[in-house]
């Protein structure tokens, strides 16, 4: 006779073991909601709720709620955002794992969300489709079978699915099952259950792991990964030749990552694609710099022959008599250039960060900047199709960061940074001050730490001039 079936909170506890240090873990409704109660206080990961919470834990009374509408509070180092931001975080691939309560899962990883199954003629998915589409790993939590014993795990789902081939692990009230290329693999069983017992309740072929174990329910307290680097040189040391790099800055000298720019110049990686607003004009425009000094901006990378290609909105000098270093590099054939209108560049970067593949914008229609691009009429207006930008690295300046990478800016230092930070695989930030998690107001953080990989403190008194 098999053992007991686990209660929903036990399922949540086992599932919570799947969260890795420092990642964003999207938490759904139903059984999945219990994961927030299973994670030990102070654990180093962000629980993500579509209600607009990055890093929350249960609370008794609060202006904040979790995905299910239950009271929640922001953890030290958490952030309050809007629903669109949580969706973009998922779609852009910034969440490591997501947990959904499934009503059905197939042997190839298709799933049906519980809300879809329980609103059949409507099939309302809530946030489940976003979680399935966006998270790098999708864990389905569920009861293994209906009360009558009919399996919820099938060769093929019988209901309309909310995601195709996206579930990587199933945690049920009797077992843990992995989904591989070749189908289902039984990894763990609940106490008192054998592999044969589980197979008898599963309507799809079930391979048994050679390492079959009994399910456990301890949830480890995770360490936050260290993101603070001692120097800018160390933080940029692995940027390879040919990398695509977002580099911040509006005009100058305010709000530029001068310390990181100098480090990138000294590092010397060549053939870079630089994405930026200007391609370096501070040395010709001066922006109020005193006589006899050389302002640091993108120009130092151009003059060091590191920029093979630029995508920029304002890549020329304001004066025809004083061409910028980039204009000279372009005219000599050393660098190539793609000009993008300013708002279009910002939207392309946001799209890269938010998982938007491409978008139709009216900007540039009928101009040189619209030439060669797909054009479409939508509701009587003409639009051109623009592609997203996703960089390998990003170097930007903030004002303050906590050690988890949550950031606030000051004045124009915000410029392109919030979108650039989201649109790179590795985002490196330079800040005036590094504080502890909880010291920044979670309602006022502009760039959530989820997007930030490395932090360096700008040395006090670091000059914006060479």
């Amino acid at each position: 006779m098999p053992g007991d079936r686990l209660d929903p909170q036990k399922i949540a506890q086992r599932a919570a073991q799947e969260i890795r240090p420092g990642e964003a873990a999207a938490i759904g409704t139903g059984i999945a909601a219990g994961i927030s109660r299973a994670v030990p206080p102070g654990s180093g990961a962000w629980l993500l709720a579509e209600s607009g919470a990055i890093g929350y834990r249960p609370a008794t009374e609060s202006a904040l709620v979790d995905a299910s509408g239950a009271p929640a509070e922001i953890i030290p180092g958490g952030v309050v955002v809007g629903t669109v931001d949580t969706a973009a975080m998922l779609s852009g691939g910034h969440a490591g794992v997501a947990f959904v309560e499934a009503a059905q899962v197939s042997a190839r990883g298709d799933f049906v969300h519980w809300t879809t199954a329980e609103t059949l003629s409507l099939a309302a998915p809530g946030f489940a489709v976003d979680m399935a589409s966006g998270a790098r790993r999708l864990v389905a939590v569920m009861t293994h079978a209906h009360d009558g014993g009919i399996s919820r795990i099938h060769q093929q789902c019988s209901l309309p699915v909310d995601g195709v081939g996206c579930v990587s692990l199933i945690v049920t009230d009797i077992a843990v099952i992995g989904i591989t290329e070749s189908g289902l693999e039984l990894l763990e069983v609940a106490a008192g259950w054998s592999a044969d017992d589980v197979a008898a309740m599963t309507e799809a072929p079930l391979a048994v792991s050679g390492n079959l174990r009994e399910m456990t329910f301890d949830v480890p307290k995770l360490p936050w990964p260290g993101k603070v680097y001692d120097s800018a040189d160390e933080a940029v040391a692995d940027i390879p030749d040919g990398a695509v790099v977002n580099v911040d800055g509006f005009g100058g000298p305010g709000g530029m990552a001068h310390y990181l720019m100098v480090a990138l110049r000294d590092h010397g990686a060549k053939g870079l694609t630089m994405i930026s607003n200007t391609a370096g004009i501070a040395q010709v425009a001066r922006f109020g710099a005193p006589e006899g000094v050389t302002p640091i901006d993108h120009t130092i990378l151009v003059e060091n022959s590191q920029i093979g290609h630029a995508i920029a909105t304002y890549p020329v000098s304001p004066s025809i008599n004083r061409p910028s270093a980039f204009e000279r590099a372009f005219l000599s054939g050393e660098s190539t250039l793609e000009v993008s209108p300013q708002g279009t560049l910002a939207e392309r970067l946001r799209s890269g960060g938010a998982g938007v593949g491409a978008f139709y914008t009216p900007t540039g229609v009928g101009t040189l900047l619209g030439e060669g691009k797909e054009q479409r009429e939508i509701n009587g207006r003409s639009y051109v199709l623009e592609q997203r930008i996703l960089a390998d690295f990003c170097i930007i300046r903030g004002h303050k960061a906590d050690t988890l990478g949550n950031m606030v800016y000051k004045g124009t230092s915000r410029n392109f940074n919030p979108v650039m930070a989201t649109a790179a695989r590795t985002t490196i930030v330079e800040v005036d001050e590094i504080v502890q998690p909880g010291e920044l107001d979670p309602e006022a953080i502009v760039t959530p730490g989820v997007f930030v990989n490395r932090i360096v403190k700008r040395p006090e008194g670091f000059s914006p001039y060479l």
Binding site: G82, T119, A123, V356, G357
Partner: protein, 226 residues
């Protein structure tokens, strides 16, 4: 009314009725809120009192106040990612089951990006969300970077009814906790955005670095009774 200005630029309205002026039958309405929390309750009651009908409402987070609109029969169609909790009885569920209300379900992120696209002046976006499922049926798809994406047209509405914690008299808004929910994108995407707020301050009364919704997106402000 707290401000002396009698010009057209004065955004502060002293009643829900005044704040909803111009809302007509058949309008498309964006309504903020999350899981019944942070609803613009007074404005929604104002819609009920106004008697306008045949409304299409996009409200992914409706609660008791939205339900009153539905119960009054003013809503023709409700668009949401999960319009009711399937495990609980509710007026929206009953109205839908008795065919008094048309419902349309879309994934949360798709709805959010469509509303944001409308506010940002885009015609539409290609998203990977829901590719290969019923949410892509009948829609244009294309492969981008080796992944199937679905075309999602932008949404723009006639009115957005929001709730915020603090406004200044120009309409700059901040929220509290989940009060942020859908509001920042909805504010961008309506011809007339009305914010129901707990407190109204003079310009300068909110730190400019922490304003979430810039005033340019807000046409009318209404202070709810405390």
């Amino acid at each position: 009314m707290s401000t002396a200005s009698g010009s057209n630029l004065n955004k502060v309205r002293d009643s829900a009725e005044a704040a909803l002026s111009g809302l007509d039958d058949g309008a498309l309405l964006l309504v903020g809120g999350y899981a019944g929390h942070h609803e613009p309750e007074t404005l929604l009651q104002g819609v009920v009192d106004s008697g306008v009908g045949d409304l299409t409402v996009i409200c992914p987070g409706g609660g008791p106040s939205l339900s009153r609109l539905v119960e009054a029969g003013l809503v023709r169609k409700l668009i949401s990612s999960l319009p009711f909790n399937p495990r609980e009885d509710s007026p929206v569920k009953r109205a839908w089951e008795s065919r008094q209300l048309e419902l349309e379900a879309q994934p949360t992120g798709v709805l959010a990006e469509r509303i944001r696209a409308g506010g940002a002046g885009l015609g539409g976006v290609f998203l990977p969300t829901g590719a290969g499922t019923r949410f892509a049926e009948g829609q244009e798809t294309r492969e981008i970077d080796g992944r199937e994406h679905v075309f999602q047209p932008a949404i723009r509405a006639d009115f957005a009814l929001l709730r915020a914690s603090v406004a200044d008299t120009l309409g700059n808004l901040i929220y509290s906790g989940t009060g942020r929910n859908w509001n920042p994108i909805m504010a961008m995407s309506a011809r007339i955005t009305v914010a129901e707020v707990d407190e109204i301050r003079e310009p300068g009364g909110i730190d400019p670095e922490v304003v979430i919704t810039p005033a340019i997106f807000v046409q009318r402000i209404f202070q709810r009774a405390s």
